[in-house]
Amino acid sequence: MFAHIFNYRLKCLLRDKITIFWTIAFPLILAIFFKLAFSNIGNQEVFKVIDIAVVENSQYQEDQNFRLALDEVSKGDSRLFNITVATAEEAKKLLDENLIKGYIIVDNQIKLVVKESGLSQNIIKSFIDNYLQTVSAASTIIQNDPSNQQEILKSLADRKNYIKEVTGTGAKPNSILNYFYSLIAMACFYGGFFGMRETTDIQANISTLAARINVAPVHKLKTFLYSLCAALLIHSVEMLALLGFMHYVLKIEFGYRAGFVVLTTIIGSIAGVLMGALISATVKKSEGLKVAAVLTISMLGSFLAGMMFQDMKYIIAQNVPILSYINPINLLTDALYSLYYYDNLSRYFLNMVFLSVFTILATFGTYLILRRRKYASL
């Protein structure tokens, strides 16, 4: 019996193109979009050279050190600035037309003129600050001992980085990963479409197929369980394919505990399918409304887990911590992230316990709603 129902259900589900689209093609397409959109974050390329101008006047010509310093940072591929030397009026005009971010006037003091405050403006300011402070330090030293100017210049050029990043764990923190992890979580919960189909096709008052199945002399829960197995198999395979695609094609890192990652994805897939079943059993209206409910809940959950906007996750964790523990999509995302980031597995297990409790509740709830339903007339 099991083989019969399972086989036919498998065929049936595989031919449902729309569900297959939502559960595998859509996450794959989104993953590619994510990769395209985020591939630059964290790269050096993010930084775009800043256009600035310097006002041409006698003080600027005389201030050889400053000219050298500016030259230094406006040469080569990794340069900071593109510098235009201009008269005061020209510089002002360039700024007006948004062609430069700001201009520098060397007067008694060095002055920066900008249009608004912003990141580029801050970088220009930091650069000049740094220059002024170094000059000030150098002149203090020269006042004390005028003999070693050359050496000062030499040791000025040799700047050291005094900070070492220590993660405390083996993994490098990477905020982009959260987007991909929440995408996997979303895809798992899109498995809800399969769960939805399973309940729809067992409730005789919803679909004609279910009416046919209900008159068959097989225990209803057995039919339901067997066909649910087919749905779970298809969806788990899909999720593993997604995982493989992300890891091998898009080169997303998952840390070194591959076994746990696969296990988490499969549990996530089960949770997703059962959540769909529960929603579908609860919402007793048309199929359109069920689809809308599955979509809205999983989209909202992904949004709160930071799929569209990563900081959302932290905003929730800080302000409404309870929400991050009852949002299954966040639990799954966080579980994957803990696997990647923490050496210690306690956080991972905490997430998985909550997720399992959620899954068990969903199963139990679906069971309560579906059991012993009889139809006097249809």
């Binding site: 859509f26 979009f33 994510f34 000062i152 005094y162 993660t167 405390g168």
Partner: protein
């Protein structure tokens, strides 16, 4: 206008369904606009918000005290016990964004000229932590200069010199009164409109078209004494009405939320730009409705098209962070030009022709996209008329 009336009737039936989407989108875009605006502010003002950091020193010395004082300009120190779990959690929940650890023996080795780095643990890619890095490196590099050049300098002397040197700051002048209105909110909200408005337009209009394209209904309209042109025009008119109503709801919502900044010329241009985008969006809806068969296909196409174009054209991820490949692909979508126009509008302080022109040309491109979509769909509909 029977066709127009029919369309309105169909749309009215869909109202509850669409309303759910409108409300969800409005809430989500407002939340996103508010949070994005907040983080934008933190990164960009000269008077930077102080960052919360944990400063853990395994030894005490005047040099380290001096460093701590210097960092105090840019950071608040949060007292935390030195336990890995607590520190990691604090970092995770963003109570602090930076942990700086001064290893034991640092001062001595530093003064001897040996290299020994400080240890930091941070949240990745945060601007505030980059500033802390900068400050620490500046302090220690300058200190090294003194130690190398003035042998025998005491730590106290060193710290007082450094304090004096590092207090130098650039004069910054902002000759233009910064725009009184804070346009960030509107900028983000109108950018997100590319997502929410487009989704609603495509969903609503394609639902309308699916019902209208029903074979029997089409045949009935076909044998009525109404020319094809008239029927098509009425149909387009109905679609535009729907688009304008949705657009109006969203724009009014934004104006109410951000009332104090609404009466600027910038907002006026935002509204025009979004109006043109709404036109273009209805063209897209019309097109997708003409191509797709069945409701499910429509929501599949909608999600891929809308999410895809929004991700690539800077609606969710700021344009500055996008790679050139992504932007090249995005330039084939109207959202890219719409977002570009909006970002320009947000920067406008002068409203002379020279400054407005690039904005207008972006809008014109969006408009042309709209025309192209309508034209294409009319061709498709004509070809399919008798099939």
């Amino acid at each position: 206008m029977p066709v127009y009336k029919l369309c309105m009737k169909i749309t009215k039936k869909n109202i509850p369904h669409l309303l759910i989407y409108i409300i969800v989108f409005l809430i989500v875009s407002s939340i996103m606009a508010v949070t994005a605006q907040k983080s934008h502010k933190e990164q960009e003002t000269f008077s930077r918000v102080k960052t919360n950091i944990a400063f853990i020193n395994e030894e005490e010395s005047p040099l380290i005290e001096g460093l701590k004082d210097e960092l105090g300009k840019a950071a608040n120190f949060v007292e935390l016990p030195d336990e890995t779990e607590t520190l990691q959690d604090a970092l995770f929940f963003r109570r602090i964004v930076y942990i700086l650890r001064i290893p034991e023996g640092f001062t001595q080795r530093f003064i001897n000229g040996d290299y020994m780095p400080l240890e930091k643990t941070t949240i990745p890619d945060s601007y505030s932590s980059a500033y802390i890095d900068l400050a620490i490196n500046k302090y220690l590099n300058t200190a090294r200069l003194y130690i190398q050049q003035m042998g025998g300098i005491t730590q106290e002397e060193l710290v007082s010199y450094l304090k004096e040197n590092l207090s130098k700051e650039t004069n910054v002048e902002i000759p233009y009164s910064e725009p009184e209105a804070d346009l960030n909110y509107s900028n983000y909200f109108f950018n997100y409109l590319a997502y929410s408005l487009l989704s609603i337009l495509i969903l609503g209009m394609s639902a309308l078209m699916i019902s209208y394209n029903d074979r029997d209904l089409k045949r009935r309209v076909g044998c009525s004494p109404l020319s094809d042109t008239a029927a098509n025009l009425q149909f387009i008119l109905a679609n535009l009405t729907f688009a304008m109503v949705s657009w109006l709801i969203m724009v009014v919502f934004c104006l109410i939320i951000d009332a104090k900044n609404s009466l600027t010329l910038n907002t006026f241009y935002f509204i025009i730009s979004s109006f043109i985008f709404a036109f273009c969006g209805s063209g897209m809806g019309f097109f997708i409705g003409s191509v797709a068969k069945g409701n499910e296909t429509i929501s599949a196409i909608t999600n891929v098209v809308v999410l895809g174009s929004c991700f690539l054209s800077g609606v969710f991820v700021p344009v500055e962070f996008l790679g050139s490949t992504a932007l090249k692909i995005a330039s084939f979508t109207p959202s890219y030009w719409y977002v570009k126009a909006n970002n320009r509008i947000a920067q406008l302080t002068h409203f002379d022709a020279a400054y407005i022109k690039p904005v207008l040309s972006d809008m014109a491109i969006v408009f042309c996209f709209g025309i192209a979509f309508f034209a294409l769909s009319l061709v498709i509909r004509k070809n399919r008329r008798y099939s």
